[in-house]
Chain length 330, copies 2
């Protein structure tokens, strides 16, 4: 897609469960002091207790509605964008909708989009493609719980992942102040096995494969992921910026998926980018799957690191293996 779609982010909200310090995890699991920050780059993250995906998502949504003085009745569509779900059926957006105050009085559709870590980008692109006089306000919710899929013996994933919910309200912007400039997503099937939660689906159904910490937890081949990303990302981004009038050096802000410490380092090095342009929240939130990119956006908005009209690149990789980018005028 290469057309400028008038779409504006007008409200954001978030919900973060209990904070868990890396030193607490290290103490509990006999991990050397400092290992987590050194290796995963994460000082703290938030992990759910009994909070569900729906509960967190609904609170984030309410916060976005309140922050933008939006009434739930103005919402034309709710998209749940992410890989976490409370139930196998119904779909997660329907569950989130049922937990937002007064949303049961309105019958706007509730739909799930899932490209794992890149789900927010696809949801934003979909929202942009729908925007018109009839569909004016869309609520995108990324509510992710990774902490129930962590293998306590796998320090790499145990210290990397966090839980968070973020909600973003996007609106049809007739003033043309804000827009989606371009979006692109590519799936590289040679990397399909590099990131997995293998158990719990139809391949190894729970009926026949009881809970096993390895089978039902994140499995990542970190080195292979970095190798594939390093090969494909430059080719992807070169194509992505064609005909946009921008390149990676000329955008105002870059919000990468907070995939890993090494991934972020290599990305900055590859393009000689610094922390003023490349926004990071990995150290305080960890990798929150699809919530990472919008959470970093919310952090930037709250801390005035992004200004209305900024040209902003969202970019990242996901399981699958996929690369996705979105260029917006904020």
């Amino acid at each position: 897609m290469n057309i400028k779609h008038p779409i504006k982010i007008t409200g954001v909200g978030k919900y973060l469960p209990q904070v868990v310090l890396s030193k607490e995890i290290e103490a509990k699991h006999n991990i050397p002091v400092g290992w987590a920050e050194k290796n995963s780059g994460v000082q703290q993250r938030h992990w759910t207790g009994n909070e569900t995906v729906g509960y967190m998502g609904a609170i984030a949504a309410q916060s976005a509605l309140d922050n933008s003085n939006t009434d739930i009745k103005e919402i034309d569509l709710l998209i749940s964008a992410g890989a976490s779900f409370d139930y196998i059926i119904p779909n997660q957006a329907a569950v989130i909708k049922s937990q937002i105050k007064n949303a049961d009085q309105y019958h706007f559709p509730a739909l799930d989009i899932n490209t794992t870590c890149l789900s927010f980008l696809n949801a934003f692109q979909y929202a942009a493609s729908l925007m018109n006089e009839q569909t004016r306000k869309i609520l995108i919710v990324c509510s992710e719980v990774s902490s129930k899929h962590l293998n306590e013996k796998n320090w790499e994933t145990l210290t990397l992942f966090g839980d968070a919910a973020v909600a973003v309200i996007v609106e049809y912007d007739t003033s043309k102040e804000s827009c989606l400039i371009k979006s692109m997503h590519k799936t590289y099937s040679n990397g399909v096995d590099l990131t997995k939660i293998e158990g719990g689906g139809i391949k190894k159904p729970f009926k026949f494969f009881p809970y096993d910490e390895e089978l039902h937890s994140f499995q990542m081949k970190g080195k292979n992921l970095l190798k594939l990303a390093n090969k494909e990302l430059p080719i992807f981004l070169k194509t992505f910026f064609e005909e946009t009038g921008y390149d990676i050096q000329s955008v105002d802000k870059i919000i990468p998926h907070q995939a890993s410490k090494l991934g972020l380092l290599l990305f900055k090095k590859m393009y000689s980018l610094n922390e003023k342009v490349v926004l990071e929240t990995l150290h305080k939130y960890g990798n929150c799957i699809a919530a990472s990119i919008p959470l970093t956006l919310v952090d930037a908005i709250e801390n005035k690191k992004i200004n209305r009209g900024d040209i902003c690149l969202f970019t990242g990789t996901s399981a699958g293996f996929a690369i996705g980018s979105l260029l917006i005028k904020y």
Copy 2:
């Protein structure tokens, strides 16, 4: 959405696992002979052995490609539309893509859309919204495995559900022979608890809730579902047909979701419709979640019950609770 989008179905394919007769299920589970057909309306359905969602989906996709002389390299996007998944991560479309011959050589995106039983309708609408000179061919795959979520003590669901995969290729149709006339989807949150597979998600994670036949299987409140559908469907369809130039009596074919025997009966009675207009496959395939509507379409194409240019209504209900409809010129 109320704009005519040029989109044409140019290829279909399916995969059906092993057939299982109702009388076999009755014999195995001490159900009275004839109970299944009398109550669920299903004489036979197909159930997987070791087949996965990805395996079935890839075969259906290959069949659709072959039937339409489409090369995989022509595909611009793969959408997996449904509620079944092989792994929690990566997303199902990425898994299906990795199993289609030669698809690893092309990097088209692979994205999941999930509104449970109505997923095909939302995927079709999404595809239509993207169609342009750059995005010309989209592969929609609905691959559903319900048989791993059946409670053997719950005769209603045990005899109702089936497994199937269907693939549909849609193309940008510049000839304007075929189009999407209108789509609509509404989510009624007062019905969120009426259809569920409760376990296996974050609400009741595997880690803390071991396999339990009731918890990890379909739970349906059939009577309440019918009551809600009977109340909301006429209101929904009245709004849906506004400004289309059609009504439910004037369309050529209606493909409803094959939700249940009683649901189909009440729908036909409500609008005085007969079997020539309302296409049914429940008796031979059961309720195949999101695959039911496209499977009934494929059946109609194979048996020459639908002609190019026919005005065709896809309509149904889903968990959530939701109602969705799509009006196309085939």
